[in-house]
């Protein structure tokens, strides 16, 4: 495309269908103890 570039899979809806397994890290156990950041966590379902 000439006017735009999509940089990721845009697959949030797919992740909902098979999500919630609970294998991933809890946000506050990393480096945020006072401000919750979630999108920097990694999915560990397939590890």
């Amino acid at each position: 495309m000439k006017h735009l570039k999509t940089v990721n899979k845009a697959n949030l809806k797919e992740t909902a269908a098979k999500g919630g397994c609970g294998k991933c890290q809890t946000s506050c156990q990393s480096a945020c103890k006072t401000s919750c950041t979630v999108a920097n966590q990694q999915c560990e379902a397939n590890k």
């Binding site: 990721n8 949030l12 809806k13 609970g22 294998k23 506050c28 945020c32 990694q42």
Partner: protein, 457 residues
């Protein structure tokens, strides 16, 4: 503008987020401007606007170019990567009755520093100075194994106060968990958050062997750190801790591990916090986290709404530095994985405090998280009787972006999950009412993080 997208300019990039699919698109100025006038009907079979109609609003652009751009947008729309709908409410209460899988273990309600901004009231959380006995640490492990049901990965963060003051309990707890994890089919991940004062060779070696992550507290430049992070006799802590952190990190990096963070706090005193981040990078630290102070708005170092423009400029400056030199260091709060990030179900509620994650005090009391400790109305039980207040646990399970005030309409909801419940309670009086200043800073960090991730693609 259509509420299903968010668009912004970061540096020289025009970025469009399709909020509900997670799609990130880098666009040119033409499309960026066109999107102000496109709002397709939910049921529609197209974008509902023609190039001729757009030309009336945007006469500065060539009509042929606009028709071409419109067809590219249509392709995204038909592929459900633009103007997609929020279909996640059905998953909102999926974690009711979820097992507890993570624990913040307050092995010490005492501290050997007297940091002025401490949310733990210089370490004792307002409840008197005490250390957790080893038997409480072991009981907490039993409690977590029992409550974690089918969860395999269990997380325990040693916290305080200063956890190294209860070193015997840290070791006894880790050793006990390691001795029984296999028989229970569990995999413990330990982390520790320390000010470093008591680090020595033995503790450093043990931490680097057993802890999957460690968070080392330092605020940056010596004068910044030593203004706030002081000893009980009011001396600065910088000279005492920096060499110890350098030794610990060197040991970790030599083993090929990057899983640690030098974590700082910025206050009104150092709104030029990028200089602190750069200073820590010069000290040899590459994994960095610096967060805004959480404190009573009356404190002289508290961040006020009027500070936000300065802070936004500082985040922009940091973002530009990282864009120009991506290998210089990592900044935790700009880190966003656009492809392998958490699933939508997790993004609805974030940290899981009070439901999948709890904090345990030195005498075994259970609280929703480390920031709720000391607030008796939030006490959820005690590990020695094993009961967890179901009403409170359900309350947190139901605290998600659809129940928090203003989140369901916010573009950032799938990145921050509505923010920190404890902050919301402390500063807005309601765990479901996000703290406005924290939200604004979070949104800015997300914009910077996405821009950096985009630059990598």
């Amino acid at each position: 503008m259509d509420s299903r997208i968010h668009k912004y300019k970061q540096g020289d990039m025009y970025i469009v987020l399709d909020i509900n699919s997670g799609g990130v698109h880098v666009v040119d100025r033409l499309i960026f401007d066109m999107l102000d006038y496109i709002c397709p009907d939910h049921e529609g079979g197209g974008l509902g606007v023609t190039a001729e109609q757009l030309a009336a609003s945007l006469p500065q652009y060539d009509k042929g170019e606009m028709a071409e751009a419109l067809s590219e947008l249509e392709e995204l729309y038909n592929g459900k990567m633009l103007f997609s709908e929020d279909e996640y409410k059905q998953y909102a209460e999926m974690t009711l009755n979820a097992p507890i899988k993570a624990m913040c273990l307050h092995v010490s309600h005492d501290c050997n520093l007297r940091c002025k901004y401490c949310f733990a009231e210089t370490g004792d959380f307002g409840g008197g100075r005490m250390l957790m006995p080893p038997e409480v640490g072991r009981k907490a492990i039993d409690f977590l194994i029992e409550k974690s049901a089918g969860r395999e990965n269990l997380e325990v963060d040693f916290f305080g106060g200063e956890p190294l003051m209860a070193w015997d309990t840290v070791k006894a707890t880790v050793d006990y968990a390691r001795s029984i994890e296999k028989q229970h089919g569990k995999n413990f991940r330990f982390t520790i958050t320390t000010n470093g004062v008591l680090l020595d060779d033995e503790k450093t070696e043990y931490i680097n062997r057993e802890m999957s992550n460690c968070v080392l507290s330092l605020d940056g430049r010596k004068e910044v750190n030593d203004r706030i992070r002081i000893t009980p006799n009011e001396k600065g802590s910088y000279d005492l801790i920096v060499p110890k952190f350098q030794q610990l990190v060197k040991g970790r990096v030599n083993e090929g591990r990057t899983d640690h963070y030098i974590r700082g706090t910025f206050t009104k005193y150092n709104l030029d916090f990028t200089n602190d981040i750069l200073h820590m990078a010069e000290l040899g630290f590459k994994q960095l986290s610096v967060e805004p102070v959480v404190t009573d708005p009356q404190m002289p170092y508290a961040i006020a709404e009027s500070d936000l423009p300065t802070i936004f400029n500082e985040y922009d400056r940091l973002c530009e530095i990282m864009k120009n030199d991506p290998k210089k260091f990592n900044f935790f709060h700009f880190k966003i994985d656009l492809n392998q990030g958490p699933c939508a179900v997790k993004r609805l509620r974030g940290c899981g405090c009070g439901n999948e994650y709890v904090a345990i005090t030195p005498d075994g009391d259970i609280f929703p998280c480390h920031q709720f400790v000391g607030m008796d109305e939030w006490k959820m039980g005690n590990i020695f009787d094993g009961n967890v207040n179901k009403d409170l646990k359900d309350y947190f399970a139901k605290t998600h972006i659809y129940s928090k005030e203003g989140c369901a309409d916010c573009w950032a909801r799938f990145y921050c999950s509505g923010g920190c419940n404890a902050n919301s309670f402390k500063y807005e009086g309601d765990a479901r009412k996000p703290h406005k200043i924290a939200c604004e800073m979070q949104k800015k960090r997300i914009e910077c993080g996405i821009a950096l991730a985009t630059a990598d693609c």
